[in-house]
């Protein structure tokens, strides 16, 4: 079931306890994930209306531009000081989970994350799970003000595709981030 790699004599007595293992492959969440995942639906990383709260809204669209009504998104980001649990502010989980509705729409409430490292523009990681996706898709949401030349991840993305990673202001306190699984405006997805 698993493959071990030989340990070297210099690794000490605890080394054989932890042979390297081959990963379990990914599979789709299928059409019925809601029964297993909806108990932890958490669209609000902060209470709506709290200081600095903004709405991050968008749609998930397929290769033909049709809405994807059976997706679930997971958002993961630092607090306003750039920290993650357990170092982050009390009550900060940094984690959001939101299913799409019948129009493919989702909506999180969050705040602009603080800088997490040198040159890293404020961003959140966003996972997309859906029927038809054998693995999650992983992308990044960049908040307004990101400098594509300074952020090491944006800099590695072909310039003509960077705009797909930038959340766009849409009225006061609202940002839009549409996820195009494929098609002309295909969102940049990452290997991790």
């Amino acid at each position: 079931m698993t493959t071990s790699t030989p340990s070297t004599a210099t690794e000490g007595p605890s080394a054989p306890e932890h042979p390297a293992l081959l990963p379990t492959p990914s599979q789709t969440v299928g059409p019925y994930f809601a029964i297993g995942l909806r108990w932890l639906t958490r669209p609000d990383l902060v209470p709506p209306g709290s200081p600095g709260a903004l709405r991050l809204i968008g749609r998930v669209l397929d290769a033909e531009g049709r809405p994807v009504p059976d997706a679930v998104l997971e958002l993961w980001q630092a607090d306003p000081e750039g920290r993650f649990p357990p170092e982050s502010a009390p009550g900060w989980t940094g984690f959001g989970r939101c299913p799409t509705d019948e129009e493919g729409r989702f909506a999180f409430t969050t705040v602009v994350p603080g800088p997490v490292g040198p040159g890293q523009a404020p961003h959140a990681d966003l996972s997309v799970f859906a029927r038809g996706l054998v693995q999650r898709l992983l992308t990044r949401v960049y908040f307004p003000g990101a400098d594509p030349e300074r952020d090491p991840v944006l800099a590695a993305v072909p310039p003509e595709r960077r705009a797909t990673l930038l959340a766009k202001p849409e009225g006061p306190g609202t940002l839009r981030f549409d996820v195009h699984l494929a098609g002309e405006d295909e969102t940049v997805f990452f290997a991790w």
Binding site: P25, S26, Q27, Y32, A34, I35, L40, G132, L133
Partner: protein
């Protein structure tokens, strides 16, 4: 007198649904690591899995250097999960019908280390192959005593253990006469956001496995075997339940070495 012959139905293009799906010019998905090109497995465009075709990305994936966001992971330790959430057989006044099983395993990193106190979520069909979900129209009975959802935090050695019933096979619309092998959906979190994984656990000896477009989306047969639980005497309990062992190993595409546990 006719002799009883053993009959074996090997997978064909029709049973696997190959024939209705035409090829389109989607490039073979790959991951670029430095100068090395690696195949994705499973690839987003899974030729036998019809729903993947309109939803798979066409552009190559961009390797994501692991920064602080990717190296951290959500924590779920604050009384979110109760011990009884790992028992799917006592969520209703009566007991569900079906074959009672215990699924025990460990959550591990690809470095071999156990992942402690992390969230494992499962969902599944009932013994008749029907989900307690409004979209499921399979004409098999719902079980009023079975919802089919459970969750658990791993212990300090990465162990989890669910008491449930064996799910039934069920039909789906991928192609004519398509049936999913019995399976339990698993969703796990790791020590890093790169270790987030959703997979499915299959049962040993299931004749539907080799016909299945979803299990078959994984091209490497050895990797497919890592999704198949093994029958487990150690966790089989006399006059109570059969045991299955299923370990879940999480690791990212890019095999970036993880920092040693502190």
């Amino acid at each position: 007198m006719t002799a009883v012959t053993e009959r074996y139905d090997p997978p064909t293009d029709a049973t696997r649904g190959l024939h209705p799906i035409t090829t389109d010019p989607v490039p073979e998905p790959t991951v670029q690591v430095g100068t090395t090109t690696l195949p994705m497995d499973p690839p987003y465009r899974a030729p036998l899995y019809r729903s993947s075709l309109a939803r798979c990305p066409r552009q190559p994936l961009v390797p994501l250097p692991h920064g602080p966001t990717e190296r951290a992971a959500p924590l779920f330790g604050e009384g979110l999960v109760r011990p009884e959430d790992a028992d799917l057989t006592h969520q209703h006044p009566g007991e569900p019908l079906g074959e009672r099983i215990r699924v025990t395993g460990r959550l591990l990193g690809s470095d071999g280390r156990p992942i402690a106190h992390q969230l494992v979520e499962i969902w599944q069909a009932n013994a008749a192959g029907r989900y307690a979900h409004q979209v499921d129209q399979h004409p098999a009975p719902l079980d009023p005593n079975f919802t089919g959802t459970g969750r658990s935090l791993t212990d300090d050695q990465g162990w989890f253990s669910f008491l449930t019933i064996k799910p039934g096979a069920y039909p789906w619309r991928n192609h004519p006469n398509a049936w999913r092998p019995a399976h339990i959906h698993f969703s796990v979190f790791g020590r890093a956001f790169t270790e987030r994984l959703v997979t499915q656990m299959y049962f040993p000896g299931d004749p539907l496995l080799e016909h299945d477009a979803i299990a078959g989306s994984v091209r490497d047969p050895k990797a497919r075997q890592r999704m198949v639980a093994r029958f487990d005497w150690e966790h089989t309990e006399d006059h109570w339940c059969l045991g299955y062992r299923f370990d879940v190993v999480v690791g990212g595409h890019l095999a970036t070495p993880l920092e040693p546990a502190s």
